[in-house]
């Protein structure tokens, strides 16, 4: 008989490194408001979550980020992440808004927003990030691996988090992480057999962060998988919350 836990809750504090809030312009999603998001976190045993709104990437960072702040206002468990389009946005204005709202991380979408991920496009943005010690999230599907590798290897002072890494990306994502010590991974789509063990064997636990990409995936299942992967308690703590807390705390 199989041994399963029908009422699973995580055994460590959890800080989800990837959720979204807000309706989408192109499709219906089952959870699009803050109240239901918090209820899901309660059920899943997740204390805090780093949240962005797709509106800020699909349409516009200024309006999307303010939409985000309006939705999560007064909810300390939802930690805002702003989206930025470095080829268009006014960076000083962005900095001001981040400071005002205590925002400690950004998310970019180079392929969708159609700018080359290259120093000649992003140089000033990178200087600004470095000065502000701001980590940047980017979904794996938004990355051209060679371009990303070439550019990031020239910027060891920056911190990147590769997010939503699907098994389609595994062939290049793990070598990329091994080669670039300033890149971390958010594991919402790492569903392959033994993926956490293989990942931690390859790069250690310090750069691995739990995330769910809720509501495009359910929030709790990946925590169940993590808890059944034979990690030490300290590794589990680091992956579920510690690494993300440390990354956002820098600065």
């Amino acid at each position: 008989m199989g041994k399963v836990d029908l009422d699973f809750k995580p055994s460590v504090p959890v800080f989800d490194a990837c959720i979204t809030v807000g309706r989408r312009y192109d499709r219906y999603i089952r959870v699009d408001n803050v109240a239901d998001t918090l209820a899901t976190m309660d059920r899943a045993g997740v204390q805090r979550a780093l949240a962005y709104t797709p509106h800020a990437l699909d349409f516009d960072s200024v309006e999307g980020n303010s939409y985000l702040m309006e939705m999560i206002k007064g909810q300390p468990r939802l930690v805002p992440q702003f989206a930025v389009n470095p080829s268009f946005d006014d960076l000083p204005l962005m900095a001001k808004s981040m400071k005002q709202h205590g925002v400690r991380s950004l998310r970019i979408a180079p392929k969708f927003q159609r700018y080359p991920f290259r120093e000649w496009v992003l140089g000033p943005f990178f200087d600004w990030l470095e000065a502000n010690r701001t980590p940047v999230w980017v979904a794996a599907e938004e990355i051209d691996p060679s371009e990303f590798h070439a550019t990031v290897s020239g910027r060891p002072g920056l911190r990147f988090v590769m997010s939503q890494v699907h098994f389609m990306h595994e062939t290049w994502a793990v070598p990329l992480l091994m080669s670039l010590p300033n890149v971390s991974i958010e594991v919402s789509r790492m569903l392959q057999p033994n993926s956490f063990n293989k990942l931690i064997d390859a790069i250690g636990a310090e750069r691995v962060m739990f995330g769910s990409r809720f509501p495009d995936s359910a929030m709790a299942p990946q925590l169940y998988y993590l808890h059944r992967s034979g990690l030490s308690q300290s590794q589990l703590q680091a992956v579920c919350a510690g690494n993300l807390g440390r990354l956002l705390g820098k600065g």
């Binding site: 699009d32 349409f59 927003q113």
Partner: protein, 255 residues
């Protein structure tokens, strides 16, 4: 030459992902430079229906003589749609309704739209929908879907935004307008093949073509340029630029 110019197709809401801002000062400066009196503005980016018109209203409140509010709803959240229509037309003075099936991912004649069409028909309002038929397969808003709707919901005046977009779509749009006298064609597009305005005016008649720009994505000066430099009569130019819109929307003609 002074003549009323009404921009039937304009937006608010930033689209920084593709380099589009919507600040009021630039908006007015470009309208002035282009000779545009009034812009009919909508916002289509938000799932919550009220947020769209709420983004529009500050422009209207600040310059009620320059901006006309346009409602937007989607059947994806039908529970919001009818109350929003009541609010938009009953309280906020919206002059017509914009629809964008591309974001819904379903065709304009999908039954999920019907409660909205019925409401519009009962109130005899104007609906502008995106329309496009670039290539075989671009079917969600192909102009040839509209005649059946125009016949079924015959109290609605239907405006085909972009008139089908490129030449393939324009041919269908003109055929639709010929078939139904409650179908109108709006001109803006970034395709803009030579001869487009002439084709629309000669095909659908000069009374049923409406100037639009897609501001603040596209510059109104270029889009006005498409009308004034077209090989059509001065009378037709004036109708397309503003007189038709004034009549259709019941605006005051200040001339």
């Amino acid at each position: 030459m002074k003549t009323p110019v009404v921009d039937f197709h304009a937006h608010v809401g930033r689209w920084g992902s593709f380099g589009m801002a919507d600040d009021l000062e630039t908006y007015l400066r470009v309208m002035d430079a282009a000779g545009v009196d009034i812009s009919c503005i909508n916002c289509i980016f938000y799932g919550e229906a009220h947020r769209n018109l709420d983004s529009v209203m500050p422009f209207v409140k600040k310059h009620p003589d320059r901006f006309v509010p346009v409602a937007y709803v989607t059947p994806r959240y039908l529970q919001d749609a009818i109350p929003e229509l009541e609010r938009a037309f009953g309280k906020l003075g919206a002059r017509f309704l914009k629809l964008y099936p591309t974001y819904l991912g379903k065709p304009i004649d999908d039954p999920s739209y019907f409660p909205i069409f019925e409401w519009a028909n009962d109130h005899g309002i104007v609906i502008m929908s995106h329309s496009s038929f670039f290539f075989e397969g671009d079917t969600l808003t192909m102009p040839r879907l509209f005649p059946a709707l125009a016949k079924r919901f015959n109290k609605v005046r239907w405006v085909l935004g972009h008139s089908g977009n490129n030449m393939n779509g324009q041919a269908q749009a003109v055929a639709a307008a010929r078939e139904c006298d409650n179908i109108y064609l709006e001109t803006c597009t970034s395709m803009a093949e030579a001869g487009t305005i002439e084709f629309l005016v000669n095909g659908a008649g000069e009374d049923r073509v409406l100037y639009g720009s897609d501001m603040p994505l596209l510059d109104a000066r270029n889009q006005v340029g498409r009308i004034v430099t077209a090989d059509i009569s001065d009378e037709a130019k004036k109708k397309v630029l503003g007189l038709n819109a004034i009549k259709l929307l019941g605006l005051k003609n200040k001339s």
